[in-house]
């Protein structure tokens, strides 16, 4: 707190002349300390997307000479522009992590153009050379973890029916659904995956309804891609179904029903970025990675996961980690019978075609529109 530029003492010393407070120098001398700002679109204890980033931020707090400032529930409007500017102007932040997808364009781009000195790192955006050089985007190939999760689900299901509660039929989500379904079918060729789209990122009531309706249809393993999987996980467990988690480890919410899950590993990435930053190196403007790079991970298996499931999942995970395994390879047929990846074509993780995914693979029950 000694470096806090806005301490009350300063105010008292500077007299209570509130009118001249405009002149208070807000950036005190930060000798060595680096201030890093984190901005979340939801609450940081949502057992989901935002908590995953907050865990990454928490990992940074342990580093020496690093100060982390955080703001939650910041909407994707000019409010986030003002939050970024406020962190720069009032807190002296030099590295910012606006973590929600909708912060990127136009908001973060605008602020990065206006403030050329601080560094901006966005999760999920697609940085191109037209974007400011002090901005960057990173993301994880979490579909790899979903694939492994799907394998475990395929082994564990008794009814052969799996369920997926998803927010929107956009490429990122479809890729997760497809990877999960393909993993499940690898383990159990007869498995099917029923998808329900709720229409938005955080719709707890609809998520609960979707979970119940899936279980009513005989689904016995449920997973999801929404901002906060808490509702889905707890409801499914209460109804006696098994669960695969998403974003963070939700085992504590459903200790008996939790099989495994696809998790972000920001607590590994962020310290790496910050070390580069404080050492004066340039963080790559466009950064992607999966299990191999340690950006994503698979939750520890729950007690009910069988030996066979563990073995196959670990096996595939090892191949994904050494980079010798391709999930999206031809021939791949979608659930309308159309070939989406021709025989002989391998779409590796970095393939830009995958960023445009607009189909559900064979075995998935549901429609993208």
């Amino acid at each position: 707190m000694t470096f806090d530029p806005l301490s009350r003492r300063r105010l008292l010393r500077g007299t209570a002349a509130l009118t001249v407070a405009t002149a208070v120098p807000l950036r005190a001398a930060y000798a060595k300390e680096t201030t890093i700002g984190f901005i979340y679109v939801g609450s940081r204890d949502d057992y989901g997307y935002n908590q995953a980033h907050a865990q990454g931020a928490a990992a940074l707090k342990k580093l020496p000479d690093i100060k982390v400032v955080e703001e939650e529930k910041v909407p994707e409007t000019d409010a986030v522009e003002k939050t970024m500017e406020s962190m720069i102007n009032l807190d002296g932040a030099t590295l910012l992590f606006p973590t929600s997808f909708g912060y990127y364009n136009p908001h973060m781009i605008k602020v990065a153009n206006k403030y050329p000195k601080p560094r901006f790192e966005h999760c999920g955006g697609l940085w191109t050379d037209k974007d400011p050089k002090n901005a960057g985007s990173y993301f994880g190939y979490i579909d790899e973890a979903q694939y492994v999760s799907g394998i475990v689900a395929g082994h564990s299901t008794k009814s052969g029916k799996l369920g997926f509660v998803a927010a929107k039929p956009i490429p990122q989500v479809l890729r997760n659904i497809n990877a999960f379904a393909m993993g499940a079918k690898l383990a159990n060729p007869k498995a099917s995956l029923q998808v329900i789209f709720t229409g938005d990122w955080s719709m707890p009531v609809k998520e609960a309804e979707a979970t119940n309706s899936l279980i009513d249809q005989g689904v016995d393993v449920v997973t999801c891609h929404v901002d906060g999987p808490k509702t889905v996980v707890e409801n499914a467990a209460r109804r006696g179904a098994m669960v695969c988690g998403y974003h963070v480890n939700q085992a504590t919410l459903a200790p008996k029903a939790y099989l495994t899950g696809a998790e972000w590993n920001w607590e590994a990435l962020y310290p790496r970025f910050v070390k580069m930053f404080t050492a004066g190196e340039t963080i790559p403007n466009f950064y992607r990675g999966g299990l191999k790079e340690g950006l994503v991970k698979v939750s520890p298996y729950g007690a009910i996961v069988s030996e066979a499931a563990r073995k196959q999942a670990d096996d595939v995970k090892a191949k994904l980690t050494d980079g010798s395994y391709v999930i999206f390879k031809g021939p791949l047929v979608d659930n309308k019978g159309k070939t989406v990846i021709a025989s002989g074509i391998n779409r590796g993780q970095t393939d830009p075609e995958l960023e445009k995914m607009d189909y559900l693979v064979d075995g998935v029950i549901g429609a993208t529109s």
């Binding site: 407070a21 405009t22 994707e76 102007n89 909708g102 999920g124 938005d200």
Partner: protein
């Protein structure tokens, strides 16, 4: 007989002095009571925060600093206030007729959609023409949206509060449908959005500030609304109808017409807010526009006791609370919800203080019962 005249003069002089004194007391009362209510809410919030082990003096200092303490903070506050002035008018204008319209959010979304459509329908037109068309389209769409609630009430006896609220969800569904379907820019992969209106068509900020033109539009609209309501025959008629609808009908006022026009103007204000969000902030329409400005506008209108001029300072106050909320999170580690607690306390304190009018001895008026 001689003595009568000076006495009469004396009396009239006395009564005019008394009237003046009453006016001043009345004006003082109007300022003092909400200020007291605000202070009470702040004290309550300070106690609330102290219960969580935070120093209330820090709290007040950071609130002031974050909202009004620097030029940057002022701009942050005014930027947040800008849409609120316009959306508050959407509730305050129909309130003159005794109607409770809470669907400003829907009008804002429809205004944004219409404004975007207007811009996309005029490729290559001079920017000024596009901007005028956008504003006109936004105001008409928003106006019709709220006029619909007015018409439902006048001709079908549907409660306007319920209908305007439900129409918000209709507007949101329509927006999502168009943005994810017919109007979707195919390159907006993970964030379904319409095409951009183009940088040239953006309305930018007020020179010398970061505050966009929406703030100026809001002030102009609030002043116009004030003149309309308090200094025109039309406004007088509206207030008569709001006071006693049967009396208004008896004196031959066309109440249906009044309701439709006032509702249209109210919706037009919110529609303009939507246009500004597109033309000054987002540059396109997507789900980000549903940021709740319409709902916060209701709070502003009620706090301002539906007086169009009072809306301006109240909107700035709430903008300031929003702006300082970030600093409270970052410096005191308070959750975002604490700002909602403060807003709630202010709301309740101001509403409760309504009962104080005419009861505080210092403002006691001669002749008042």
């Amino acid at each position: 007989m001689k003595s009568d005249v000076p006495i009469a003069l004396d009396q009239s002089e006395k009564s005019s002095r008394a009237a003046l004194r009453e006016q001043i007391a009345g004006a003082a009362e109007i300022v003092a009571i909400p200020t007291l209510a605000l202070a009470a809410a702040l004290v309550l919030f300070g106690i609330f925060v102290a219960l969580f082990g935070k120093n209330p003096l820090d709290l007040y200092f950071y609130m002031y600093q974050g909202a009004f303490g620097t030029w940057f903070s002022w701009q942050n506050t005014l930027t947040r206030a800008a849409p609120l002035i316009l959306t508050a008018l959407c509730t305050a204008l129909p309130a003159q007729l005794g109607m409770v319209i809470i669907g400003g959010e829907g009008a804002l979304l429809m205004g944004a959609l219409a404004a975007t459509s207007a811009a996309l329908a005029l490729p290559g037109a001079p920017p000024f023409a596009v901007q005028v068309a956008m504003a006109a389209a936004g105001m008409i769409a928003g106006g019709l949206w709220i006029a619909l609630s007015g018409a439902l009430r006048q001709y079908r006896g549907v409660n306007e509060t319920i209908s305007s609220l439900l129409l918000v969800y209709v507007a949101l569904a329509l927006l999502n449908h168009l943005v994810e379907g017919p109007m979707r820019d195919p390159t907006s992969l993970n964030k379904p959005s319409t095409s951009e209106i183009g940088a040239a068509n953006m309305i930018g900020t007020i020179p010398g500030t970061d505050v966009h033109w929406g703030f100026a539009f809001g002030i102009v609209a609030a002043v116009l609304a004030y003149v309309l309501i308090y200094h025109t025959v039309f406004g007088f008629a509206a207030r008569v109808a709001g006071g006693n609808i049967r009396a208004a009908k008896v004196v031959g006022l066309n109440v249906s017409r009044l309701i439709l026009i006032i509702c249209f103007l109210a919706g037009a204000a919110a529609g303009l807010a939507g246009m500004v969000e597109v033309a000054a902030v987002q540059g396109r329409t997507n789900a980000n526009l549903a940021a709740g400005y319409g709902f916060t506008g209701i709070l502003v209108a009620f706090l301002a006791r539906h007086n169009p001029l009072a809306i301006i300072p109240v909107a700035i106050l709430l903008g300031g609370i929003g702006a300082s909320g970030g600093l409270l999170q970052r410096r005191l580690g308070l959750p975002d919800a604490s700002v909602l607690v403060l807003q709630g306390m202010i709301f309740i304190a101001v509403l409760a203080s309504d009962s104080l009018y005419g009861r505080l001895p210092i403002f006691a008026r001669k002749g008042a019962a």
